[in-house]
Symmetry: C2
Subunit: 101 residues, 2 copies
Amino acid sequence: MDKLKHHIFVCSSSRLTGEIKGYCASNEGLEILENFVEEVQDREMDSDVMVTNTGCLGMCSMGPIVIVYPEGTWYGKVSADDVEEIMDALEEGESVERLMI
Amino acid sequence: MDKLKHHIFVCSSSRLTGEIKGYCASNEGLEILENFVEEVQDREMDSDVMVTNTGCLGMCSMGPIVIVYPEGTWYGKVSADDVEEIMDALEEGESVERLMI
């Protein structure tokens, strides 16, 4: 398949048991995910960018966590309001320094 | 933080509702995940390689799906028995051609 330009992973604390709990899920994780999906659609980047929810990324104290690959950029303490800025940076081939961990 | 050498994402069909269903979850997705975690530990690659479960990756007909970043290698129709071969390839900087999509 064609490689994605960017694959955005958002921690939703998804557990294999299905139980909905965990730091990121409880702190806007789902809103962050929704905002990324909306931003990607609004910017018509659907064919180049995928957004995927994940289980725990092991850095709960820095959550909510967002990772962008293939860049390997980890963002911490992300809020739903930060999503637009992250997407702006992504479009310009940059990162949001203040959120990087 | 230090960048990981490899980040392995395994579809576990994790839904935001917590409901446990979906192609990958029903077809060894969880065994595949467990096997990756065990292989990484057995090979003492814990500090370089992370394994994370994900929600649906949108290619259910090719599932179970495994992705390795930053390489951006997508594997499809992966079985629990394929994990050792994928890890062998990863250690050698190679991919398992027969599973690539």
